[in-house]
Amino acid sequence: MSEIRTLIVDDSSVMRKIVERSLRQAGLDPLIVHEAGNGADGLELLKVKTVDLILSDINMPAMDGLEFLRQLRAQNLAPGVPVVMITTESSEEHVKQAILAGAQGYIRKPFTAEQVKERVLPLLDAA
């Protein structure tokens, strides 16, 4: 598999590490990981970095994950790049909001590496 450039947006550095480890366990290796602590930092990073996959939390300070998604689309940053939300918010309403904002996938915390694999790999194959 060729290098997968990934942006992980989460205000928890521990969670960013867990997501990275899960991606590697899912077979995404070699993996280049860029990290951001909130949506605003994620947008700034995408102005200078090219990525193949974005994983984002929803509940974050400064700019939450849904606003990050809306801005991503409005500013046409990372067009065609799949975005997967990884969050503790799991109601149908939250999933609907994320899909409407432009997410292609949704993973509920807590999660297993197997769940990450099931939801992320098909999106990368399709991209």
Binding site: D11, V14, R21, T88, E93, K109, P110
Partner: protein
């Protein structure tokens, strides 16, 4: 149609939901089994406490409390790193555990999941504090053990609509 949780307080306050949430989070994110412990909640001289607030149809908080060495063990299980003290990574890990517990707990009741938001976690170190709620609608406080470590999880609901 306006949604209310008043009719389903018995579901929301079911103590089995808290036990199931704790087991789920610790099994999936730490790979460890934990079980309810009948002993007192006090553990070590140094405490790490994380609080995640609920807002919406239910207001209140999820509080996760553990000793310093147990907090380091939990962070080590989450990250694969070793810790010599309660640094920012340990505090961040405990905050995230509390966040996932709060999310898993409210996810057990669909109306609660859809109509109750979570705050970002706040983490407190030290033991000279009290969390005071005037007249809670209900309060669940359970102590758990994994290996030789213990922690306590409290769900306190101060208002329900």
């Amino acid at each position: 149609m306006a949604c209310s949780l008043r009719e389903s307080v018995h579901l929301v306050s079911d103590p089995r939901n808290l036990d199931a949430s704790v087991e789920e989070v610790f099994q999936l994110m730490l790979g460890v089994d934990c079980r309810r412990d009948a002993g007192p909640a006090e553990m070590e001289p140094e405490l790490v406490t994380a609080v995640v607030g609920f807002g919406g149809l239910l207001s209140g908080a999820c509080v996760f409390r553990t000793g310093g060495s147990a907090a380091m063990k939990i962070a080590a299980c989450m990250t694969g790193m070793e810790f010599a003290g309660i640094d920012d990574t340990v505090k961040d890990g405990i905050g995230e555990i509390c966040n996932m517990l709060a999310g898993a707990w409210k996810g057990k009741v669909p109306d609660l999941s859809a109509n109750c938001g979570l705050s970002v976690p706040a983490v407190i170190t030290g033991r000279d504090y009290n969390i005071h709620v005037q007249a809670p609608e209900f309060k669940l406080e359970h102590t758990y053990r994994f290996g030789d470590s213990r922690f306590a999880v409290t769900i306190v609901c101060d208002a329900i609509q």
